[in-house]
Amino acid sequence: MTIPLFIVSVLTVWMTVEYFFPFLAPLEPASHTVQTFATILASAAWGLGTAVLCIAHVRRIYTQSKDPFWGYSVFFLATFFIMFLSGLIQGTQGSIFLWLYNYIQAPGDQALYSTTAFYVTTAGYRVFRFRNLDATVLLISGMFVMWSVLPLFTGPFPVLVTIAKWINNVPSVAAYRGFVMGVALGIIGLALRVILHKHREVLA
């Protein structure tokens, strides 16, 4: 555990410091090579989550009695392996691979994400209440901004564009500016905690 944490600290400090001091410029090619390594590793790391997911589905099938929905995992694994094998055999320009992408993945992606529109609609009826001042401010400013991007409202009432432009350019800039500065400081704090080995769970 100690050596990997040490690697994290060295890399973070090195890459941060080289940005500020010109005399460290000779080390720059080396640091760039490490960044390239990290890029290649990130692509490899993608498989880990997928592997965990597949194992979870295999386990669901294996222990059928505990989970009433194990049957669906068969569909998951079947399509997973069809897609995976077509990609491996034909490559990413292969006809089966692209067909599956265009006619299963793309519409699935669109349909799945667009269902949130229905959920938002029903939530609008049942949960979005003017409960208190906070929710009221949020809902009212939200409504004005929503109307401003819809031609049905801005056509007859061009003033909505002006109001929404003010909301977008004045209070929203102020809010996000404060928020972003806080978040940036938070990232610095997190990086420091990682450098100081206070967040061992990062590598757990």
Binding site: I7, Q35, L41, T79, L139, A164, A174, A191
Partner: protein, 233 residues
């Protein structure tokens, strides 16, 4: 021909997924798992291709011997799947995490802190020699952003008059998030309209198949629910 079949399949996948809105059922679950299987494999294949082309292939080409290091580290990531070899996984993760924090904080401090302070100062937000309306707007931006910063100060109790600053900060933040809310709402409907246009109703010659399938699914679901093979929620 393959294209037309594809379009019909695409519209069917959409209909199957949309049935989830009418109660959770076997049709939508099947479609969801099929979709998740395809997307998981797709992302895996693309990333493996990147890993192979930029790592493995390069390591065995002339002058690229150094790239054997990320290849070995990349394989070590999968040691996490076994409890005994889990410790090996920490080395590649250390490189990923270290590099990410290194490249992030060095520029964050400029683009997310200093440039934002600059945004509160002239010439971007001048206070002298501007019309009254703009002066008020600039004052709102400056003091609003400072109040939002104050809202996120946690080591200080807000008991005296400064609690009004704190409260003002929260209202400014909520007004800003309200803008996100409004935009996100329209974005959700945009997603739906886009799905309808690109999958369900285009081109017109697939419409009979789309509606036919929708009716078939409706019948299957009703039979399923009536016979007790499936249940609403």
């Amino acid at each position: 021909m393959a294209v037309t079949i594809g379009m019909i399949v695409a519209s069917w996948i959409c209909i199957m997924l949309y049935t989830m809105l009418y109660g959770d059922n076997f049709v939508s679950r099947t479609a969801e798992h099929i979709f998740m299987g395809v997307i998981a494999a797709y992302e895996l294949v693309i990333n493996l291709e990147f890993f192979y082309n930029k790592g493995v292939a390069r390591a065995f080409s002339p002058g690229g011997a150094i790239y054997i290091i990320p290849v070995i580290l990349g394989i070590m990531i999968y040691a996490r799947l076994n409890a005994k070899t889990r410790w090996l996984y920490r080395y590649p993760m250390a490189v990923i995490v270290g590099a990410v924090f290194g490249v992030t904080i060095r520029t964050t401090v400029f683009s997310q802190i200093l440039d934002q302070i600059k945004g509160n100062l002239p010439p971007i937000a001048p206070l002298v020699g501007v019309p009254a309306g703009q002066l008020i707007n600039n004052l709102i931006i400056i003091f609003g952003s400072l109040a939002a910063v104050v809202f996120f100060i946690f080591s200080q109790e807000f008991k005296g008059p400064e609690r009004y600053v704190h409260r003002f900060g929260r209202l400014v933040l909520l007004c800003g998030f309200g803008a996100t809310y409004g935009n996100t709402l329209s974005y959700r409907y945009e997603l739906m309209a886009g799905t309808f246009i690109s999958n369900l109703f285009q081109p017109p010659e697939i419409l009979p198949y789309t509606f036919g399938f929708a009716i078939a699914i409706a019948i299957i679901l009703v039979i399923g629910f009536k016979t007790g093979l499936a249940h609403w929620e």
